[in-house]
């Protein structure tokens, strides 16, 4: 492999990594704050992608314009699932098991819903072809835009959690739920908000993803695994970790795709996930909490 191809693959992998980072933030937030592993996360990503595809093919809206619609839909879906399903799980020892099974059920409701609404085929949005050439490397326009948008949304989430009152409340619940409650934070509301945010982030990631890749309804599970793999690689509850993990995964996929085949690249997330969990369970840059 000559140096130019190598650098080109690094560029491609990093761009994809940006979107993967956004993908993982939602699952990371929900897991960190609520202790709930959302198995439907990838399906919300997939549904967000299909929403963007539908808005583009029906109304000619490009994915950047579709982004607010995707975010609103993901937020609403997350609110509903938390308010009417997950909040009803009794908080005892069986809670983890029950919430896993619940989100598993939700995942298939979403998959089937997307199939009914938008069919079972692979779809993508080709609104921005071509690429920019810098230093002899190709920067595909769609990837750069998706990368930048993902970066901005991640930054907005970080600022929200860091500086707003509600954001601080979310972090407080993630650090010490009992303590937060004593301070007068309405825990059920924060949980609804957190799960909604998780859905919004997933849907936003899906809208951006569909600019780069073709997606199909069956691919949601793969994105759940990827999102969680990024979280595990980077370490739970760490923004820099999530970014690093996402870039690691993006690079790993692009390189295995180039050296072996796209099929093997699809499995690499799982292998990284397993390897990191077995060797370094706290992740590469693991922080304790958000």
């Amino acid at each position: 492999m000559d140096a130019r191809i190598f650098l080109q693959l690094v560029v491609n992998g990093t761009m994809v990594g940006g979107v993967y980072g956004l993908m993982s933030l939602g699952i990371n937030l929900v897991w960190g704050v609520m202790g709930v592993m959302n198995l439907a996360h990838g399906d919300v990503i997939m549904a967000g992608g299909f929403l963007a595809f539908w808005l583009f093919s029906q109304f000619g809206l490009n994915p950047l314009v579709a982004l607010p619609f995707g975010i609103a839909a993901g937020l609403g879906l997350g609110f509903l699932v938390q308010r009417f399903l997950l909040s009803k799980v009794p908080p005892d020892r069986g809670a983890v098991k029950t919430s896993l099974l619940m989100t598993f059920g939700v995942s298939y409701v979403i998959i089937n819903g997307v199939q009914l609404l938008w069919g079972n085929e692979f779809q993508t949005v080709m609104f921005l072809g071509g690429s920019w050439h810098v230093f002899g490397l190709d920067f595909a326009k769609a990837r750069v835009i998706a990368f930048a948008a993902a970066g901005l949304i991640s930054l907005a989430l970080w600022a929200f959690l860091q500086y707003t009152f509600t954001g601080r409340a979310v972090r407080a619940v993630s650090q010490q739920a009992d303590g937060a409650q004593v301070c007068g934070i309405d825990i059920p509301r924060i949980r609804v908000l957190t799960f909604g945010l998780g859905g919004a982030l997933a849907a936003a990631a899906g809208v951006l993803l569909v600019m780069i890749f073709a997606i199909s309804p069956a691919m949601g599970t793969g994105y759940t695994v990827r999102s969680f793999a990024v979280t595990v690689i980077g370490g739970l509850g760490s923004f820099p970790g999530a970014l690093a993990g996402a870039v690691v995964l993006g690079l790993a996929e692009v390189f295995t795709g180039y050296l072996f085949s796209a099929q093997i690249a699809n499995g690499i997330a799982f292998l990284l996930f397993l390897a990191v969990l077995l060797v370094r369970p706290q992740g590469l840059l693991g922080a304790k909490r958000l």
Partner: protein
């Protein structure tokens, strides 16, 4: 008295199952055969996820391994199908040892995600390893499957699954598994070799879907990555187990038969919304009947002053 009625129902059910193929139509026999496969898989899931707290979303991996082992052995080595089905179980059990060793070090959601990923990786292997699996083209088998033979094989599987679960339920091994489900750390502190117990349950739980997968592939006389690792079956299996009652001896049987029977009547014609229905039913069961049907009925009966209640150590009620 009630207990005797229960046994009478089992005996009567077994008698019906035994003589059914003599007079029933191919359609009905085929329907029961499919039901047997699902019930068997539900028992497999129950062994690992019902008894311990390790929720597996990847039992279908072993189903695929069984299906592919049968197809490869029959297609490439001309094995008789009965032997090939058993070989599938052996392959699954042997693979389950290292897989379980790695997976069971992960707890709760990590294990769940790991098992989800496992299915994905295996179906990827099935598509990519073209020299052995024929990749996406799949393997065509001679369409010689005799439905009534398969029917009895499936029925035998269910019997084995029930007996094994029953034996596990009353053994010290079963108690160890339940203690892991209750509190793994405490169980370990009490001197239970949790790693060994979990691994044994995992291996045992891998055998049933593998056997079901082998029978399924022989009946279908075709296998490809999509039919070898069908996510729909995973959902259906889990739904049946939790509907009947996870961690009980009779739950998967009751759940499996009720759901497939109701399903055949109600929604056989709505193939496009199967996943939606299964997903929604999982939610409904979890919301309104989290223990499942069997414990619910058993408690009702206890309240009416029927037979003595459950054995002393039970999973905590209302999960």
């Amino acid at each position: 008295m009630k207990v005797r009625i229960g046994y009478a129902a089992v005996v009567a059910g077994a008698a019906v199952v035994a003589v059914l193929p003599i007079f029933a139509s191919d359609y009905l026999v085929g329907f029961f055969f499919t039901t047997f496969l699902f019930v068997t898989m539900a028992y497999g899931w129950n062994l690992i996820s019902g008894f311990t707290a390790y929720v597996s979303f990847g039992q279908i991996s072993f189903f695929g391994i069984g299906a592919y082992t049968l197809a490869i052995l029959v297609f490439r080595a001309a094995w008789p199908w009965q032997l090939a089905v058993l070989a599938g179980a052996v392959v699954a059990a042997v693979l389950a040892v290292p897989v379980g060793w790695a997976m069971l070090r992960l707890r709760g959601p990590y294990f769940a995600l790991g098992m989800l990923g496992l299915t994905q990786v295996l179906s990827m292997v099935a598509s990519a390893w073209i020299g052995v699996t024929n990749g996406g083209e799949g393997i065509y088998l001679p369409p010689e499957a005799a439905l009534r033979q398969l029917y009895y094989a499936g029925a035998a599987l269910v019997v084995v699954a029930v007996v094994v679960t029953w034996a596990v339920d009353r053994s010290a091994f079963g108690l160890r598994l339940r203690s892991i489900g209750e509190d793994e750390v405490a169980s370990e502190a009490m001197g239970v070799d949790t790693t060994l117990a979990k691994l044994a349950a995992f291996v045992l739980a891998s055998i049933f879907p593998a056997l079901a997968g082998g029978l399924y592939a022989w009946r279908l006389s075709y296998i490809d990555p999509a039919s070898g690792f069908p996510p729909t079956y995973e959902v259906q299996t889990i739904l049946m187990a939790i509907f009947g009652g996870a961690g009980t001896v009779w739950g998967p049987l009751v759940g499996g038969f009720l759901l497939t029977a109701v399903g055949e009547v109600l929604w056989a014609k709505f193939a496009t919304v199967h996943l939606l229905l299964f997903g929604t039913m999982i939610l409904v069961v979890l919301m309104f009947m989290p223990e499942g049907l069997v414990p619910l009925l058993r408690r009702r009966r206890g309240r009416r002053g029927g037979a003595a209640g459950a054995p002393p150590i039970r999973k905590k009620e209302a999960a």
